[in-house]
């Protein structure tokens, strides 16, 4: 009897080991997040591994800052993971320029990736005419508001500058902050606000022209946009009550502020949906969302700023390029699986820009998120989309837009001087060929 049991166990162990050994390992270096990691393991790594017998996907989670440095060091040394995950196109640009990423053109053609993706998102990974990256998640900026609070006070959700300033006065009169937001722990938060004011004051068309070099950033329309932001930030204290409090408040605090009625609205990216649902959702109040208000007649229609959160590429020096391609193709070909992952994050993460029809949108997510997904598709489909700085700005001007904005808010330099410096950085980036792909505008 004992002999039989031992034999049986040995067979199981051997067969398990053999199947593990026989599979070729595909490595993926991914940003770590305690809430997200188990879902990624279960619904991405395990689901892929169970779907085929050739490759074994191994996701290695690491704190993003450490990960980016160690991955870069490894890739300089001709090593690194098979699937290269970056925080956006400016990183892809650097790796591509160094010849470290695999050209994906032939695979895209073979597997029809272009037809499966939203066109602007596909083109964000095209460098010098060839595909080098696929967005792992795409996102936008929205305005959240406490629906219960708005209804109790008969406040109107603002759609224009006048309405925004009017409701802001009413909110402040109630002793609340207008918007809940802060930059503690993530200084680049400033660029979210700069992007909103550039796109919703100057208008997406003007921003597009500046990105492609047909308009100077020193144009009065951009000066006015950033003057308005300065007024709302410094003079009016729209965000968390004052500039100083905005600097002092981080992710947990501004979600708590929004949930506890410390603020009536929040300007934030769609990555927040899950946190918002858990935060204000638990408080008993209902939340709503709206496109960011139009801030001038130059940007009259509602628009959504388009952005790439993270990207996926194949390491040109990777040990198992075929396996990496197979993983990417699995993601591109299994819409239901990808949507199932995104659903767990309320479409705040792993929102691969696959073309969706209304029937694809899951019904077991927050109704606000369902509504957002439909509206986002409709409005951007009509060509009303703006540009997020972290997706379309080259590295140097991209850092300048948030780091040096503090200098403007501090009153150390004028908006004109800031934009003069900004233009110089864009000129330099253009001269060095550091600009990033931008989809053609109709």
């Amino acid at each position: 009897m004992i002999k039989t049991v031992i034999s049986f166990v040995s067979v199981i162990i051997l067969s398990t080991s053999f199947s593990a050994i026989s599979k070729t390992k595909v490595t993926w270096s991914m940003e770590s997040n305690a809430d997200r990691d188990p879902i990624m393991i279960e619904k991405l790594q395990n689901a892929y591994n169970n779907s085929q017998g050739n490759y074994e996907l191994v996701i290695e989670f690491e704190d993003n800052e450490t990960r980016l440095t160690s991955m870069r060091t490894a890739m300089i040394g001709g090593m690194g993971p098979d699937i290269v995950e970056t925080p956006g196109p400016s990183y892809v640009k650097e790796y591509h320029a160094a010849g470290m990423l695999e050209n994906l053109d032939s695979y895209a053609a073979e597997f029809g990736w272009k037809d499966k993706m939203i066109p602007w998102a596909y083109s964000s990974g095209v460098f010098e005419g060839s595909l080098y990256a696929i967005p792992k998640t795409h996102e936008s900026m929205v305005m959240l508001y406490n629906k219960t609070l708005f209804e109790e006070n008969n406040w109107k959700v603002p759609t224009t500058l006048e309405e925004l300033e009017d409701v802001a006065g009413k909110i402040k009169a109630k002793g609340m902050n207008v918007f809940s937001y802060g930059s503690d722990g993530w200084q680049p938060t400033h660029e979210h606000l700069v992007g909103i004011y550039l796109n919703n004051y100057a208008g997406p068309q003007a921003v597009y022209e500046a990105i492609i070099g047909e308009r100077e950033w020193t144009d009065p329309v951009f000066v006015e946009a950033l003057e308005l932001l300065k007024k709302h930030m410094v003079d009016e204290g729209y965000w968390s009550g004052s500039l100083e409090n905005y600097y002092a408040i981080g992710w947990d605090d501004f979600h708590a502020q929004f949930a506890n009625r410390g603020a009536a609205m929040m300007t934030i990216g769609t990555w927040t949906f899950q946190a918002t649902q858990l935060g204000i959702g638990a408080s008993g109040d209902e939340w709503g969302w709206a496109p960011l208000p139009s801030l001038s007649s130059q940007s009259p229609d509602p628009n959504f700023m388009i952005a790439i959160g993270t990207t996926m590429s194949v390491n040109a020096n990777g040990k198992n390029k075929d396996g990496a391609i197979d993983v990417l193709n699995w993601i591109m070909s299994n819409k239901d699986k990808v949507l199932d992952i995104a659903k767990d994050f309320e479409f705040g993460e792993m929102v691969v820009p696959l073309t969706l029809s209304s029937s694809d949108i899951p019904t077991d997510i927050a109704p606000q998120v369902q509504d957002y997904l439909s509206e986002y598709a409709r409005i951007t489909g009509e060509g009303n989309y703006g540009y997020c700085t972290w997706t379309f700005w080259p590295a140097d001007p991209g850092v300048h837009i948030w780091k040096d904005m503090e200098v403007v808010w501090a009153g150390d330099i004028s908006v004109e001087d800031f934009l003069y410096d900004h233009q110089k950085m864009w000129d330099k980036a253009r001269k060095n060929g550091d600009t990033l792909p931008v989809p053609l505008r109709n």
Binding site: N245, Y247, E406, V407, A410
Partner: protein, 291 residues
């Protein structure tokens, strides 16, 4: 081959492992960094020689100038406040017979904590909602309502305060060690002459601990150059570069803007600055200073 078995050569066998590691971990990267300062390398890809372009740009960089000024303020602050407090406390501790170990441990404790923990403690204390400001507001006082880390006028001093709070206990310990080396007969003689406590400190303690004291001054000046972690964690150099220091600026250039060549040029400046300080102390020693 006889040289390798020579008695005088034996010491090199002990030095060799450390020197070998230093060569690879510090020596070669430092030399590479020196070379990179003359290039436009962006951390990946090809490296192009651009001569002294980075240095020309350095002298025109207003934020680097701001960072250098902040480093100088930082150094002066550390040469005065923690040194003054540590000397006083160490001297007072020499007079305490019971419970001295408790105070030594208490003063030294922040030095044993990781910088990130120290920073989180103070960040929390100064937080406008959860910290002291929030507490005072709830009892009707408008005190510490705004975090000093987020005000342009106070951010650098607030960060220096936190770093100084963690550092001064270390100074207490090394000053105390120096003070215990002082011959007790000198104090007895001073007592017979009727010297006050301050006179004993001024004319006996301070001259006798001069090597330790000068050493502490030297390490403060040198350590103030690459100061990074407290600034990075607490303010990231902001708001509006008000707490920016050279090392943080160098990090930002290399890892945020991918301008590794320019960042190396900043590193090279720091390297020469430290070399000058070390050389100065070497000259003082040669001139007969007991350091």
């Amino acid at each position: 081959m006889k040289i390798f078995s020579n008695k005088n050569f034996v010491a090199w066998y002990f030095v060799f492992p450390v020197a070998f590691i230093h060569l690879f971990v510090i020596g070669i990267p430092s030399l590479a960094s020196l070379a990179l300062c003359l290039t436009d390398w962006r951390g990946l890809g090809e490296i192009n020689y651009i001569g002294f372009e980075n240095f020309i740009e350095l002298f025109d960089d207003r934020y680097l100038k701001k960072a250098i000024i902040n480093n100088v303020i930082w150094t002066i602050a550390f040469l005065t406040v923690p040194v003054g407090i540590a000397l006083t406390c160490a001297y007072l501790l020499t007079g305490i017979k019971r419970g001295q170990m408790f105070f030594r441990l208490a003063f030294f404790f922040p030095y044993m904590l990781a910088s990130v923990i120290n920073c989180q403690i103070w960040k929390y204390l100064f937080h406008p909602i959860h910290g002291l400001g929030g507490f005072f507001e709830r009892i009707g006082w408008d005190f510490l309502a705004v975090s000093p880390f987020t005000m342009k006028s106070t951010s650098l001093f607030a960060v220096a305060f936190v770093d100084g709070w963690h550092f001064w206990g270390f100074l207490v310990v090394i000053y105390l060690t120096g003070m215990y080396q002082v011959d007790n007969h000198l104090y007895e003689a001073a007592d017979i002459e009727g010297a006050t406590k301050f006179q004993k400190f001024r004319y006996i303690t301070l001259p006798m601990i001069r090597p330790v004291f000068v050493f502490s001054i030297m390490i403060i000046i040198i350590w103030s150059v690459p100061v990074f972690d407290y600034v990075y964690i607490l303010t990231g150099g902001g708001p509006a570069y008000s707490s920016e220091v050279i090392a943080n600026y160098m990090y930002s250039q290399a890892f945020e803007r991918f301008d590794v060549g320019y960042s190396s040029a900043i590193g090279t400046l720091m390297f020469f600055y430290v070399m000058i300080i070390v050389a100065l102390f070497g000259l003082f020693r040669k001139a007969g200073w007991d350091i």
